[in-house]
């Protein structure tokens, strides 16, 4: 709670056509912490993420990243801000005409002046970190979904970003594979110390990784709380979200308290 | 290895197309790339009807150059024609330049009839003796009207 704010959304509003998706959304992300945005599908979680990335500009309000309002700045300023970003897209968005190696090397080739040998060293280190040593020469279509996610993570981390965004990092993966992604996330964050913003509906597992949880419901953020507070909150939206996603498992008073003790 | 192949393919493509361009520009565009140096002289005609830039210049039916430029002298309303002559060909001062047609409806060309002088024209000089194009319609009407 003490570290400085790196991302701040102030009264962000956004409509697509006549449909309002975000209505006065306020949210803060602090340096070095992990924020998880949860919410039912179709509520606009990804839209919030796209605002933070500058891919979508709000109809009203401010999106401050490192104290710069990226909702109202020039393209070159936005580009400058994005240099500290790493993104893992929901569908990974790997460049499918390039090999895994070239995918990871691309940010280095386009954004730095490193020699090809330095790039190779850097990329191979990232490949090893993600257990992808043998996949370097394969194309994205030739590897499994879990491997694609890992390649995406490697590409997002290759320039040592200070903020990393994850859009549904475990969608479409089985329990084993998603645990592996979480393990890699945990490991790399400990190593590189980046700030993370995760959009997910993998509740409750995701709570173990997060410092703060924010629920998007009814076009607004319903409290940005620690996981423990979140589960005990009496905000009706959070209450009903917690109950519908975790309710059947922790139905009785006894089980619920044992769960909190574990967390 | 893969990149190597791309480069060969691109190289082949470039060489092939530049060869084609060279053919077009040298052969068809009469681009004077390799030697064959020329000098220019000027000739004034009352009328050049139908003569075009690029038309041949012939002496005794042999091509010795081409028409480089044509423009109108605003003062006396004469056509000024720049003749580009091969360096090897010398033209006497008192030569006569005339505009002829190859056949009745053929292309116009400039024919130079030699004179008798020992002095030769230098670049930029003017051929003073000229014969304008023969107007075929005029000739025909003259022929018809003189009959009766």
């Amino acid at each position: 709670m003490d570290s400085e704010i790196v991302i701040e959304l102030i009264n962000v509003e956004k409509s697509f056509g006549s449909q309002k998706v975000l209505d006065r959304v306020n949210l803060q992300v602090r340096r070095g912490t992990t924020l998880v945005i949860v919410g039912a599908s179709g509520q606009g979680k990804s839209v919030i993420l796209k605002h933070m990335l500058g891919l979508v500009r709000p109809d009203a309000g401010q999106v401050k990243v490192f104290d710069k309002d990226i909702a109202n700045c020039s393209k070159s300023e936005l580009k400058e801000v994005r240099k500290s970003f790493g993104v893992l897209f929901q569908n990974v968005a790997l460049f499918d005409s390039m090999t895994v190696y070239d995918n990871i090397a691309l940010p280095l080739r386009e954004r730095t002046h490193l020699s090809e040998a330095e790039i190779r060293a850097n990329v191979e280190e990232k490949l090893a970190m993600m257990d992808l040593d043998k996949a370097g020469n394969k194309f994205p279509a030739q590897i499994s979904g879990g491997m694609q996610k890992r390649v995406g993570l490697a590409r997002a981390l290759v320039l040592d970003p200070s903020i990393v965004f994850f859009d549904e990092p475990t969608t479409g993966l089985d329990v084993n594979k998603s645990n592996e992604i979480y393990r890699l996330f945990y490991k790399t964050q400990a190593q590189l110390g980046y700030t993370a913003v995760i959009v997910s509906h993998d509740v409750p597992k995701i709570f173990k990784l997060s410092d703060h949880v924010a629920l998007l419901a009814n076009k607004q953020i319903q409290g940005c709380l620690t996981p423990e507070e979140f589960q005990l909150s009496d905000n009706p939206h959070i209450r009903s979200f917690v109950e519908t996603t975790m309710g059947p498992i922790y139905s009785s008073e006894r089980e619920e308290s044992s769960f909190y003790e574990k967390v | 290895m893969k990149k190597f192949n791309i480069e060969i393919a691109v190289g082949l493509f470039l060489v092939l197309s530049f060869l084609c361009f060279a053919y077009i520009s040298v052969k068809l565009g009469n681009l004077n790339l390799f030697g064959n140096p020329t000098y220019q002289v000027v000739a004034r005609f009352e009328s050049i009807s139908g003569l075009k830039v690029g038309a041949n210049i012939e002496i005794a039916g042999v091509k010795v150059g081409r028409v480089a430029a044509i423009h109108l002298d605003q003062n006396d309303y004469e056509a000024v024609v720049n003749l580009e002559i091969n360096n090897k060909t010398r033209i006497q001062e008192d030569s006569i330049a005339s505009i002829r047609s190859a056949g009745i409806i053929g292309d116009k060309y400039v024919s130079i009839s030699p004179g008798g002088s020992d002095d030769y024209l230098k670049a930029g000089d003017e051929i003073t003796e000229t014969e304008s194009a023969i107007n075929i319609e005029e000739l025909i009407s003259k022929y018809i009207f003189e009959k009766d």
Binding site: L55, E80, S97, E110 | E7, F13
Partner: protein, 269 residues
């Protein structure tokens, strides 16, 4: 009366909406063109992507161009021969073939072939990258998609199109020669002399200018269609969106090439 009024109002509204949409699309395409040309001129200059694009647009089209060029020249000679024979001027066949190729058919047919081969592929490639968020990914990596993705295509298009046109012209001329001299028994000297005499630099210039403009048009239309796939009113989503956009890019660029062909000819003749 009231019904008529409401119908008229609806019509006007529709008209206004359509023209606004058209203006918006035009503006978007214009801004796209200028941003791309700006990126072409801005450093850093990287040769490798341009070479790859020249390979794709140029080298890999050579075979098709050789084929179409030869047959175009052959049919020109055949048709020209029977037309010219009526006036007893078969001797002009060489110049007829060369002039039609250099001024009209060379640039136009080359452009149409390249649109079919490379233009459609560009739209599909860029469109799929847009659909699968690869362009967003580039932007989020602070890599300028115009500079990285589109600018090399413009450079390559502007280089490859005139060069392919030269190839087309030359093989066309020799195709015409094969039919004229080989088949129709025209004197070889007559064929080439009439050609050398008739062709002037301005004919060659016209061909080059046309090829350059066609190259620009093709890359512009085909890449802008793919790039703004997601903004397409008829819905640019999924495989069907890509295929529909590709079709419309091919049609639009072919039509505009024919329109511009007329305009350039009218201006330059």
């Amino acid at each position: 009366m009231v019904i008529l009024k409401s119908v008229m109002l609806k019509l006007l509204e529709k008209l206004g909406y359509e023209s606004l949409y058209l203006l918006e699309v035009t503006g978007r395409m214009g801004i796209f063109l200028f941003s791309c040309l700006g990126r072409v001129l801005a450093p850093p200059y990287k040769l490798n992507p341009i070479i790859r694009q020249i390979h794709f647009i140029g080298s890999r089209s050579v075979f098709v161009i050789l084929f179409t060029g030869t047959f175009t020249g052959m049919v020109l000679a055949l048709q020209g021969y029977y037309t010219l024979r009526k006036f007893g001027s078969e001797g002009l066949l060489g110049s007829a073939v060369a002039l039609s190729l250099l001024r009209e058919l060379g640039p136009v047919l080359t452009a149409l072939m390249v649109i079919g081969r490379a233009g459609s592929a560009i739209t599909a490639e860029v469109g799929i990258m847009r659909n699968s968020e690869q362009i967003d990914a580039l932007e989020c990596m602070a890599i300028d998609p115009y500079k990285y993705l589109i600018a090399p295509k413009f450079v390559a298009g502007l280089i490859a199109m005139p060069l392919l046109t030269f190839i087309f012209d030359v093989v066309g001329i020799f195709g015409g020669w094969a039919v004229g001299v080989g088949l129709l028994d025209i004197n070889q000297g007559t064929f080439f002399q009439s050609m050398y005499k008739a062709v002037a630099w301005q004919d060659i210039n016209m061909g080059i200018i046309k090829a350059l403009i066609f190259g620009l048009l093709m890359i512009w239309i085909c890449s802008v269609k793919g790039y703004f796939l997601h903004l397409d009113r008829s819905g640019g989503f999924g495989a069907e969106g890509v295929s529909r956009t590709t079709t419309s890019a091919v049609v639009l660029s072919s039509v505009s090439i024919l329109v511009w062909d007329y305009l350039i000819s009218a201006i330059m003749l």
